[in-house]
C-alpha cells in the first residue's frame, strides 16, 4: 500500500438549513441549521479500505455525498488526488497546475471527470436499479454518459468484463434480464458492476450490505475486498455495523453527531477502543455466541438533534464518564498510539 493519500478531507462542514416558518420570519429569528457534518478531517491512502462508522444522523452518508459532489460542502476542503472537489461543486473554477489539470475544465466537465474516477455503491439493492432497464443497459449507462465507447463490440466487452469482475458469470446469462428477476445479492453485484465499468479509483460503499441477508453479506464484502486486491481500488465503507467493518477494513473512523471521535487501525479500535462512545458501541455489538455475552455499556437517551449541538464535548450529555470540564471545552485529538487518535479530554 502506498502512503500517498488519494482523498484528503480537511475540516469539512455541511450544514442544512431548517425550514423557516412564516412566524420565524415575522419574528426575525435567525435561520437554524442542521449540523450534519461539523468539522471532519481524515485522509484515505491509495488502495486503503476505510470504514466510516456511526449511527443514523452521525453524518457518515453526508460525507460520502460531499465527496462525490452530489452535495455542496458548506465549508472545508475535499481533495481528491489533489483537486478540491468542494470548489468544483460550488461551480467556482480555479485553474492551476498542468494543462491537463481538471481545474481548466468547465464545472460540468469537472464533475464528470470526478465521477469517472470516483463511484458509489448504494445501500438498497432493490432501490438503486431502475426497474425499467435491463441489466446490460444499467451497466452500459455510465459508458454512454461519459462517451467512453465508440462501438457495440467494445461496449459489450466492457460490460461483460465488469459483470464478470463482480461475480456475475457468465455475463450473457444476466444481461438481458430486468432487476426484479435477480436476488438481492445479485442486484448488489450489478450495482457494483455499474460502478466498476468506469474503472474508478475510489469507491464509496454506503452501507452496501445492511439490506442483505446474513448468508450473502460476506460474499459482497469479500467481493469488495477482492476489488482492492485486483484493481487497487480505494474504498470508503460507511456503516453502522462494527462487526462487518471489523471483517475487511484497514482503518476505522467512528463518527458521532457530525464529528469523528476516534480513528485508527480497525483491529486496534475494536480491541482497545479509547473514546467512551466507541467503547460503548463495541460493548453493545451483539456477539453470536451466548458464552461470550459481555457486560453491555448502554448509553441512555438518544443522539441529540443536530440542530442544537451540545456545547463542549458534544458527547458529554450521554457520556458515563463525563466531568465538569467536558461541558466547557471541545476536546482535541489525542494520539494514543501511532495512527490511532481519539477526541476525549479524559485521555
Amino acid at each position: 500500500m502506498s502512503n500517498q493519500a488519494i482523498l484528503q478531507i480537511k475540516t469539512l462542514y455541511k450544514h442544512f438549513p431548517v425550514a423557516h416558518t412564516v412566524k420565524d420570519r415575522l419574528a426575525r429569528r435567525p435561520h437554524q441549521v442542521v449540523h450534519a457534518v461539523d468539522g471532519v478531517s481524515f485522509d484515505v491512502a491509495r488502495g486503503e479500505i476505510l470504514a466510516l462508522v456511526g449511527e443514523s444522523g452521525s453524518g457518515k452518508t453526508t460525507v460520502g455525498m460531499n465527496i462525490l459532489g452530489l452535495q455542496v460542502p458548506t465549508r472545508g476542503q475535499i481533495l481528491f488526488d489533489g483537486h478540491n472537489i468542494a470548489d468544483w461543486a460550488k461551480g467556482r473554477l480555479r485553474p492551476d497546475g498542468s494543462p491537463e489539470d481538471l481545474g481548466k475544465l468547465s464545472r460540468r466537465r469537472q464533475i464528470m471527470a470526478l465521477h469517472r474516477r470516483a463511484q458509489m455503491v448504494f445501500q438498497d439493492p432493490y432501490e438503486s436499479l431502475n426497474p425499467r432497464q435491463r441489466i446490460f443497459d444499467i451497466v452500459a449507462e455510465p459508458l454512454e454518459i461519459h462517451g467512453l465507447v465508440s462501438n457495440r463490440e467494445e461496449k459489450q466487452a466492457r460490460v461483460r468484463a465488469a459483470l464478470e469482475d463482480s461475480g456475475l458469470v457468465p455475463a450473457d446469462h444476466f444481461w438481458n434480464r430486468y432487476p426484479d428477476e435477480l436476488s438481492g445479492g445479485q442486484r448488489q453485484r450489478v450495482v457494483i458492476a455499474g460502478a466498476l465499468v468506469l474503472e474508478p479509483e475510489l469507491l464509496i460503499a454506503d452501507e452496501p450490505v445492511s439490506m442483505l441477508d446474513v448468508s450473502i453479506r460476506a460474499e459482497i464484502l469479500t467481493l469488495l475486498q477482492n476489488l482492492r486486491l485486483a484493481h487497487g481500488i480505494t474504498i470508503l465503507y460507511t456503516t453502522h455495523d462494527l462487526a462487518t467493518a471489523g471483517y475487511f477494513t484497514d482503518r476505522m473512523a467512528v463518527m458521532y453527531l457530525g464529528r469523528i471521535v476516534e480513528i485508527g487501525p480497525t483491529i486496534e479500535v475494536l480491541k482497545a477502543p479509547c473514546h467512551p462512545y466507541t467503547q460503548a458501541l463495541v460493548s453493545v455489538a451483539p456477539v453470536p455466541n451466548p458464552r461470550k455475552r459481555r457486560k453491555r455499556m448502554i448509553l441512555q437517551g438518544e443522539v441529540p438533534n443536530p440542530i442544537q449541538v451540545p456545547p463542549g464535548c458534544r458527547f458529554h450529555p450521554r457520556c458515563p464518564l463525563a466531568e465538569e470540564r467536558c461541558k466547557q471545552s471541545d476536546p482535541p485529538f489525542v494520539e494514543v498510539t501511532q495512527n490511532h487518535k481519539a477526541a476525549c479530554l479524559l485521555l
Binding site: A243, L270, V287
Partner: protein, 325 residues
C-alpha cells in the same frame, strides 16, 4: 406444562392464480413460562408467517392446513373467532415489526394503550385505565405524561418502547416480538434488548423473538429454532445452536456472521439464495446450497423429517448420522 406448544404447523398461501404455496411446513416447538425462544431465519423463511398464525392473524391468502397450536393446552385452531379474541393480547400479545407503523398516527399513544387495557376480559374503568397506561409507559422508561402525545412526536426507539408497553397491557403470559430491534440504531437496539430482558425476568414472560439477527438471539434467548425455506432446520438450546450446531445450514449461517470479538477473522458466505415459495426443491430445501447434499439422491428426492438427535435437540437433515461420523 408448556404454555405454548406448536405441533406440526403447516401453512399455505393461495396465489391469485389459485395455486397453493407451501409457506410453512411441519414446524413444531414448545415454550415454558419464563423462557425465551428465538425464531431465526433469513427473509422469506416463514418465521413471520409462523408468528402471525399463533394469533390467527394471517393475511387473507393464508391458510393453516395442518397442525395444532396449544396455548395452556387449548388448541387455538379449534376455537371460535370470539374465543380467539379473548386470547389475543390477554394470553398472547405481540410486538409487530416496524413500530412506527403499529401505532395509529392520528390517535394519542395513551389512547391506544388504553384501548388494549379495556379488553372485554379486563373489567377496568376508564380512570384506572389511564393510571395503568401511565404505569406501563413508566415501566418501559417513558414519562407517563408523554402518553398524551401523538406517535409522530416520538423517536423510533420511543415508539418501540411504547409498542412494548402496549403489548404488556393485559398481563399476557406469552409475548411475541417480531424483529424488535431491526431498523433501530445500534445503541437503541441495545436499550431495547436490555428492556425486553428485564421485563421478561420481572414479569416471568414466555418470550418469542422472531429475528434474522443471530446476534440478538445469542444475546437473549434460551432456546433457538432455526428455520429454512419454511421448515425447521434445527431446534435446540442456545448454547448448543451456537457451539455445537449439527445442521449444515446452521453451521454455515454461523460462519457467515461476523463476530466483533474477533475482527479480521474469515467469513464464508453461503452461495446461492434461499428458495422461492413458488419454486421449492422437491427434496431437502437446503440441498441446492448444501456442500454435502450435492450428489446424495436422498437429499434431492426426499424431504427430511426433523428428528431428535439428543434430548431437546432436533434437526432435519438426511445426512446427520454420517456428518457425525
Amino acid at each position: 406444562m408448556s404454555v405454548l406448544d406448536v405441533r406440526d404447523l403447516t401453512i399455505q398461501y393461495l396465489t391469485e392464480q389459485g395455486d397453493a404455496l407451501l409457506a410453512v411446513e411441519g414446524v413444531s416447538f414448545s415454550l415454558e413460562q419464563g423462557r425465551s425462544l428465538g425464531l431465526v431465519g433469513e427473509s422469506g423463511c416463514g418465521k413471520t408467517t409462523v408468528m402471525l398464525s399463533l394469533l390467527r392473524l394471517l393475511p387473507e391468502a393464508g391458510r393453516i392446513t395442518r397442525g395444532q397450536i396449544l396455548f395452556n393446552g387449548q388448541d387455538l385452531l379449534q376455537i371460535s373467532e370470539r374465543e380467539m379474541r379473548a386470547i389475543r393480547w390477554n394470553g398472547i400479545s405481540m410486538v409487530f415489526q416496524g413500530a412506527m407503523n403499529a401505532l395509529n398516527p392520528v390517535r394519542t399513544v395513551e389512547s391506544q394503550i388504553i384501548e388494549a387495557i379495556q379488553h372485554p376480559d379486563m373489567k377496568i374503568n376508564s380512570q384506572q385505565a389511564v393510571l395503568r397506561a401511565g404505569e406501563l409507559l413508566e415501566l418501559v422508561g417513558i414519562p407517563a405524561k408523554r402518553g398524551k402525545q401523538y406517535p409522530h412526536q416520538f423517536s423510533g426507539g420511543m415508539k418501540q418502547r411504547a409498542v412494548i408497553a402496549m403489548a404488556l397491557a393485559c398481563n399476557p403470559s406469552v409475548l411475541i416480538a417480531d424483529e424488535p430491534t431491526t431498523a433501530l440504531d445500534v445503541m437503541i437496539q441495545a436499550q431495547i434488548i436490555e428492556l425486553l430482558e428485564t421485563l421478561q425476568k420481572e414479569l416471568n414472560l414466555a418470550l418469542v423473538i422472531v429475528t434474522h439477527d443471530l446476534g440478538v438471539v445469542a444475546e437473549m434467548c434460551d432456546e433457538v429454532l432455526v428455520m429454512y425455506g419454511g421448515t425447521l432446520a434445527e431446534y435446540a438450546n442456545s448454547d448448543t445452536i451456537f457451539n455445537d450446531p449439527r445442521h449444515p445450514y446452521t453451521q454455515r449461517l454461523l460462519r457467515a456472521f461476523p463476530d466483533i470479538a474477533e475482527p479480521g477473522s474469515e467469513l464464508a458466505s453461503i452461495p446461492g439464495s434461499p428458495p422461492r415459495l413458488d419454486d421449492l426443491p422437491p427434496g431437502c430445501r437446503f440441498q441446492p446450497r448444501c456442500q454435502f447434499g450435492e450428489e446424495q439422491p436422498i437429499c434431492v428426492q426426499q424431504r427430511p423429517d426433523s428428528i431428535e438427535i439428543a434430548p431437546g435437540h432436533r434437526t432435519a437433515c438426511h445426512l446427520i448420522a454420517e456428518l457425525e461420523r
